[in-house]
Amino acid sequence: VSDRGPSKAGVLQGTLDLMVLKTLDTLGPQHGYAIAARLEQVSGGALQVNMGTLYPALMRLEQRALIRGTWGTTDANRKARFYGLTAAGRRQLAKEKQAWEQMAGIIQTLLRDES
């Protein structure tokens, strides 16, 4: 149990799974670095995912059978482990996405009202 208050890492922890799932949904099967690069790119460099965070997350998702990893080769003909969404992963993504959007909508409304 963490005694720390909400931090950037904490936020990331909660949403990293969702981001990974979404990335794989958008781009199709990807290897770890491509996922990290994509997140960095989408966030405009704000989100730099450490290996020690990313790969346990991938493993966690794989253990939960939401994604599946297989060894393959990249376009540059390099060996890499590619992760793809499973059917369960797709369902999970849809579920989380909906919850997130609802939440975001509320926050947005709230913030707009405030201004």
Binding site: Y55, Q63, M103, D113
Partner: protein, 1350 residues
């Protein structure tokens, strides 16, 4: 469905193997390379790029650490933790663990033992090279062609020669036969199992000697002069001391010297399973010594061979078949009739796989063992069902604990695997204990089945096949008894689980149904076992009691065998007479006779014959026996007609015959037997002979006790037709004879005497002396074993059913206790209650029997041939079995039934709400204990605090407020409000917010506690002012109350309430840890509220409400409807119950003699339970007060004892009892913990305020503690005195501002109104109270009595 799919996914995920470290590192390295490449593209030089990459992406070592954590987290740690948890849980319930492990050990052990025997008997391959290639050459239908040496007498010596010469399909053939040998000489002689083997025997089998060499073709040469013998490994070890010098040593076998040339390999005990050999001798020895062995009608060999490599069994079989006509044509025996020879020539040889050896046991015991395996399988099934119900019950008891853990976020996967691991631990322990049980029982069984005539040697030492069987059984049983309960756990809905706390009102019908199903199935299966037990026991009894036709007790059989020293055939009759006379002269022998046949030794001797006087040319068959005169006297068989044999029936005299009664009935059709002729059909050595029947004797058994083919229409337990021929007229005297003697006195002494007599006989003659009666017992070894085992299984089944049924009925009875209590209170008789509960078990028994009877019929139909003298569907047996099972089951079911009926009604109903609390509290505490042991978190300690707080609560509102208080202390926030959903609102004691308001809307979409900072509220206010002015009131309220965080209390489908908390600890916001804590607390509160609602809902149930209102009716009648009339005083009373049924009670009792009893009591608690206790107080009081001379302290002590015994410890009553004596104008009273009644003394002068005395003398409350004593006090009364006795509801009546009415106020009031008549005083007190309470809720009953002395 969704649950299943989720399960499948998880299962599949567990099957994905974990990735190794290298694989993971590789992935990380590649990642770093990518980052470095990217860095290079940005312009860093290669070395720099690697450093940058490491900075940006982190180190491999750290990432590996995190990955290893993640990898190990799920499986390894979980498993270890599950095992630890399982062990802890089992340790916590050692009785359950012991029972479960023991029953499993017995169940699996029994199965494994029988499997082990079947395996040894049928499944194991011989320890020879390539056993699959070994085939047995044999023909069916060989019976009736001369002498057959037993199960291994399948081929004659001439046939063996023909087969060996002509066959082309086998790479090697050999022949072997059994030999009963005597090894040693004189007093050292021992019987031994021998094998006659042809020269190729060991070579074809591919055996390697343990010592020396094995027999070779040169040992089996026509000259037969090698004199070589091979001993088995076991014989070498056991009888020859395992000496190395054995090779080359000399042994005496059958009076001849042999040289031991070698020892057979360890483990090879011959080709017949269950019969091991001691010595193997070359075939040529016996062929040379006994010319009979070469006869074409002497079947004493088995021929086997090894398939040519590449040759199929089918091809070999076809080849052997095609050879048959030629082989048979070349070996036609002489002396047979034409039709018999035709049958001989039509025989066909076949090749049968023999890699698992041959076995006579296989035929005799295979069916019994298969049936036993089936029966023991059923026992295991019942065991599992029993365990499953046990586990279900445990799962049920733990469901609340589990619900709490689910509510606190424990993943269901963990819970299920925990339950499964727990089952697996039980099964593993059971299996471990089962292995020695299995080996021991298998050994015991072999000993049981083995007889001196039929020694069985099976290797039962326990091997990997046994271990594999036990393991498989353990896994299967785990799945069977553990899976259902654990899957149920995965489906536990926390709220639904808590719902079960209101037991009795919402019984968990589903689980009860499941358990009832298990038990009904168990009863059905048990019935099969009980039926089989009854059938086998009766079958065995039938066999034991079967009429033999002769008296076996006191009979001794001395058998003489040829060992090479026998006289030639023409000398044999003389030899018979010699030994017979020798035995006749032995002391103690009263009768003696020689015979070629010993009754019931399994051998039979039949002849075909014709009856020229009766049946013309028809060929018939009957048993024949060659006997000497005195046989019937010795056997104690009556001669019914004509005469017996005597010394005049000699070789040269007329051929005569005796027949038995069965023969007359079967073949002569009851015609005149004496004088008829019998003409035998010619056989080899037995030319056609015409005999004249000279007498008829009583029928007897012949070869076996049962299933003997009598060639007749009668059943298999009928006596066979037998024809007796004088032994002197035997056309073909064989080289053996039995002498049967009847002893008087000690049979064994006489037998020893006979034995001694032949100590010095020719060493070429083997003698065996045995008593007949003990041998009879061994005939029934199989049947006895079956009866014992089936009986044991049957008893075991009954025990298991009794246990299972008792468990289920007890469970149902307990869950029906409140119902039972209400029924009793409403006048249902105890017998009615017993019937009610018993009906449950009777239904189960009926259902079980309905399934079980056809099932038993089906199972036992296949076992019909194992039974004797009883049909598998014997109706009386089925009926008895059913009655026994139902009776046992009913007794099991009636224990809980009687217990339920004997419960006092108030004890049955007593803990209506409290029991829920007790179980819920216990569950919370358990859950907390488990959780804290595993992972102590702030949330858990909060949960345990809350559990502690609600421990003291007596009702839901109290529990909720206690829990709130705990939470308040913990987070140190103010205020802490709980709003509960009621209709369209969430309402608390002071505040309410609309269900469609802004806060609830926000909470609906926000899964966590929602912080409400001042800024948040400000923003809301701004927004609401513009868009939703209707929400302003709610926002103002939240702001006004100082709410800083809102915690939704969710159940599966709605928000049942909201926790609103103000600023914590003078800080503005909650920390993340606190927020998380609140989230955890929310689930507890949600459960509390849900529970409270469900409880209310349950109370509202229609039937219960009817029962309650009826109970209230009963209740009302307990209070006196009229006030007493007495000379000395006038009375008035009032009672305002808080609910429809109150715990207050008052009564006036006319005890006679101008005395009046006045009682006032307040029973703790409220509602129906209190009411029923109150009725107990009333009943006991009325009974005891009837004894007018009883001292008041004694009366109170009695009531105290009665209440203490009949009510739970936390129930009690305050009680005031006074006896008004009109003659003495006195009031004697006892006050048992009641609010002191007030006695207002009539004022001495009008001006002074009247004195108010309190009547306090007495003792403690009644019903709480045993053995209390009380004191009484006496008050003299004078005119105008006023007594006011009241319950605490009066003084503790609250006004809307929560202020108590209080004693002082009451005293003042009393002083003011004391001058009024009793009715007036009562009216004024009532009015004052009503005025005080106004519209506040009345929490307690208000009751008071006024007495004014005239």
């Amino acid at each position: 469905m969704r649950v299943l799919r989720e399960w499948w996914q998880r299962l599949r995920a567990t099957l994905v193997p974990d990735r190794g470290d290298e694989d993971l590192e590789e992935e990380l390295r590649l990642h770093l390379e990518h980052v470095a490449a990217e860095a290079r593209r940005r312009g860093h030089d290669p070395d720099e790029a690697v450093r940058v990459a490491r900075l940006e992406a982190g180190g491999i070592a750290q990432a590996m650490e995190a990955l290893r954590d993640q990898r190990g987290l799920l499986w390894l740690e979980d498993l270890g933790r599950d095992v630890r948890y399982g062990l802890r849980v089992l340790r916590r319930s050692p009785a359950f663990a012991a029972v479960a492990i023991l029953t499993l050990a017995l169940g699996i052990g029994a199965n494994a033992a029988i499997f082990h025997l079947i395996d040894a008997l049928r499944l194991r391959s011989l320890p020879i090279a390539n056993p699959d290639e070994l085939v047995d050459i044999r023909a069916d239908g060989i019976d009736g062609f001369g002498v057959n040496s037993g199960p291994n007498g399948r081929v004659t010596y001439p046939l063996w020669h023909e087969i060996r010469t002509h066959q082309r399909a086998l790479s090697g053939t050999f022949a072997w036969g059994n030999a009963g040998l005597v090894i040693g000489r004189g007093a050292d002689a021992r019987r031994a199992e021998g094998l006659w083997v042809s020269g190729d025997f060991f070579r074809v089998l591919g055996l390697v000697p343990a010592r020396g060499r094995l027999l070779a073709p040169s040992d089996d040469s026509p000259a037969c002069d090698a004199g070589a013998a091979v001993v088995s490994y076991d014989y070498w070890q056991a009888s020859l001391g395992g000496r190395e010098s054995v090779v080359g040593s000399t042994v005496t076998i059958m009076n001849n010297a042999f040289t031991v040339v070698g020892v057979a390999p360890a483990g090879f005990s011959g080709l017949e399973v269950g019969r091991s050999f001691d010595v193997a001798l070359p075939l040529c020895i016996v062929v040379r010594a006994t010319p009979d062995s070469q006869r074409r009608d002497s079947w004493w060999l088995r021929v086997m061979g090894r398939l040519e490599p590449g040759e199929t069994l089918a091809a070999a079989d076809a080849h052997v078949r095609s050879l048959s006509p030629g082989i048979l044509e070349a070996t036609i025996p002489d002396g047979y009739s034409a039709d018999l020879l035709e049958r001989y020539k039509s025989l066909r040889f076949e090749a049968v796989p023999a890699g698992r050896g041959v076995s006579r046991l296989r035929q005799t015991h295979s069916m019994s063992l298969t049936l036993l395996l089936g029966l023991s399988g059923l026992v295991l099934l019942i065991t599992c069902a029993n365990l499953a119900t046990l586990m279900l019950a445990r799962a049920g008891a733990r469901e609340r604990e589990i619900a709490m853990r689910v509510a606190m976020g424990a993943p269901r996967r963990r819970l299920v695997s925990q339950m499964l691991v727990e089952s697996l631990l039980v099964a593993a322990a059971g299996a471990a204990a089962a292995v020695p049980i299995a080996v021991a029982s298998a050994r015991a069984l072999v000993t049981f089945l083995s007889t001196s005539d039929n020694p069985i040697s099976l290797s039962v030492v326990g091997d990997w096949r046994l271990i594999a069987f036990v393991t498989a059984a353990a896994v299967l049983t785990t799945l069977f008894f553990g899976l259902v309960p654990s899957l149920r756990v995965s489906l536990v809905d926390p709220v639904a689980a808590m719902r079960q706390t209101s037991r009795g009102l919402t019984v968990d019908r589903h689980r009860a149904r499941l358990r009832r199903g298990f038990v009904a199935g168990q009863i059905a299966v048990s019935l099969v076992l009980v039926v089989s037990a009854a059938l086998f026991v009766r079958s065995f009894r039938n066999l034991s009691a079967v009429d033999l036709g002769f008296d076996p007790n006191g009979l001794i059989v001395a058998s003489f065998f040829d060992m090479g020293g026998f006289a030639p055939p023409e000398r044999r009759p003389a030899f018979q007479q010699e030994v017979t006379s020798a035995i006749r002269s032995t002391p103690g022998v009263v009768a003696v006779a020689a015979s070629m046949h010993v009754p019931l030794d399994g051998n039979t001797w039949s002849h075909f014959f014709r009856l020229p006087d009766v049946a013309g040319d028809e060929t018939k068959v009957a048993r024949f026996a060659y006997i000497s005169p005195g046989y019937f006297e010795t056997m104690r068989v009556k001669v019914l007609a004509g005469r017996g044999f005597d010394e005049h029936d000699r070789t040269e005299s007329r051929r005569v015959l005796l027949v038995n009664d069965a023969f007359v009935r079967q073949h002569l059709g009851g015609a005149q037997a004496v004088g008829s002729r019998v003409r035998t059909v010619a056989e080899s050595g037995y030319p056609e002979t015409t005999y004249e029947i000279v007498g008829v004797v009583g029928s007897t058994k012949y070869g076996t006790l049962r299933d003997e083919d009598c060639f007749c229409d009668a059943g298999n337990d009928a006596m066979p037709p037998i024809a007796y021929v004088p032994i002197a007229q035997d056309p073909n005297p064989l080289p053996f004879v039995h002498v049967i003697a009847r002893a008087s006195g000690s049979v064994s002494t006489v037998a020893a005497g006979i034995r001694r007599r032949f100590d010095t006989i020719d060493p070429g003659v083997g003698v065996q002396v045995a008593e007949l009666a003990p041998r009879m017992g061994t005939l029934l070894a199989t049947e006895r074993a079956m009866a014992w085992l089936a009986g044991a299984f049957g008893v075991l089944a009954i025990v298991l059913v009794v246990v299972g049924l008792y468990g289920v009925i007890a469970y149902l009875a307990v869950s029906r206790r409140p119902e039972v209590g209400i029924r009793l209170a409403l006048g249902c008789t105890r017998a009615g209650i017993v019937a009610l509960v018993l009906l449950d078990s009777l239904w189960l028994l009926a259902a079980g029997a309905a399934i079980g009877l056809p099932l038993a019929g089906f199972v036992m139909r296949g076992a019909g041939t194992l039974l004797f003298g009883i049909a598998p569907t014997d109706v009386p047996t089925l009926a008895i079995a059913t009655v026994v099972l139902v009776a046992a089951g009913s007794i099991a079911g009636s224990i809980p039934a009687f217990r339920a009926a004997l419960l006092p009604p108030m004890a049955a109903i007593r803990d209506e709400p409290e029991s829920m609390w007790r179980t819920a509290r216990a569950a919370v505490r358990r859950a907390v204990r488990d959780l804290t042991a595993d992972e102590a978190t702030a949330g858990d300690t909060l949960a345990s605090d809350i559990a502690g707080a609600i421990h003291r609560a007596a009702s839901f509102p109290e529990a909720v407020s206690a829990a709130l208080g705990t939470l308040r202390d913990r987070v140190n926030a103010h205020p802490v409000l709980l709003l509960e959903r009621i209709g369209d609102e969430y309402r608390g004691s002071a505040y309410a917010i609309p269900a469609n308001g802004i806060l609830i809307n926000r909470l609906t979409h926000y899964p966590h506690p929602l912080p409400l900072t001042l800024a948040d509220l400000q923003a809301w206010r701004k927004w609401a002012t513009e868009h939703r002015p209707g929400h302003l009131a709610e926002i103002e309220m939240l702001d006004g109350a100082g709410v800083r965080i809102a915690v939704p209390l969710r159940t599966s489908h709605e928000i049942v309430g909201v926790l609103l908390l103000g600023s914590p600890d003078s800080r503005e916001a909650f920390t993340a840890a606190e927020t998380k804590l609140l989230g955890g607390a929310a689930s507890i509160f949600a459960l509390l509220i849900e529970n409270a609602r469900l409880n209310e809902r349950a109370l509202e149930q229609e039937t219960l409400r009817r029962d309650l209102s009826l109970a209230a009716e009963v209740q009302k009648r307990l209070l006196p409807t009229e006030l007493p009339v007495a000379e000395i005083a006038e009375f008035s009373a009032a009672s305002l119950p808080a609910r429809s049924i109150g715990g207050d009670y008052y009564d006036f009792l006319d005890v006679g003699g101008r005395r009046l009893g006045i009682a006032l009591a307040d029973v703790s608690g409220k509602g129906i339970a209190a009411a029923l206790i109150m009725s107990a107080v009333q009943a006991s009081l009325r009974i005891m007060a009837a004894d007018r001379d009883i001292p008041l302290p004694r009366l109170l002590a009695n009531i105290n004892e009665f209440l203490y015994r009949t009510t739970p410890g936390n129930k009690y009553a305050t009680f005031f009892y006074a006896l008004l004596d009109g003659e003495r104008r006195q009031l004697r009273y006892v006050n048992a913990g009641h609010n002191p009644p007030m006695l207002v003394r009539a004022a001495g002068s009008a001006a002074a305020a009247p004195d108010v005395h309190e009547l306090t003398v007495g003792g403690a409350v009644v019903g709480m503690l045993p053995g209390l004593t009380y004191e009484e006090a006496t008050v003299d009364l004078s005119t105008g005195d006023v007594l006011l006795a009241f319950t605490d509801g009066v003084t503790e009546a609250h006004d809307p501002a929560d202020a108590e009415f209080g004693e002082d106020r009451l005293k003042d009031l009393l002083r003011q109104v004391a001058h009024l008549p009793a009715v007036g005083i009562a009216a004024r007190v009532s009015a004052a109270l009503k005025d005080w309470i106004r519209d506040a809720e009345q929490f307690d009953d208000l009751t008071f009595i006024v007495m004014k002395v005239r």
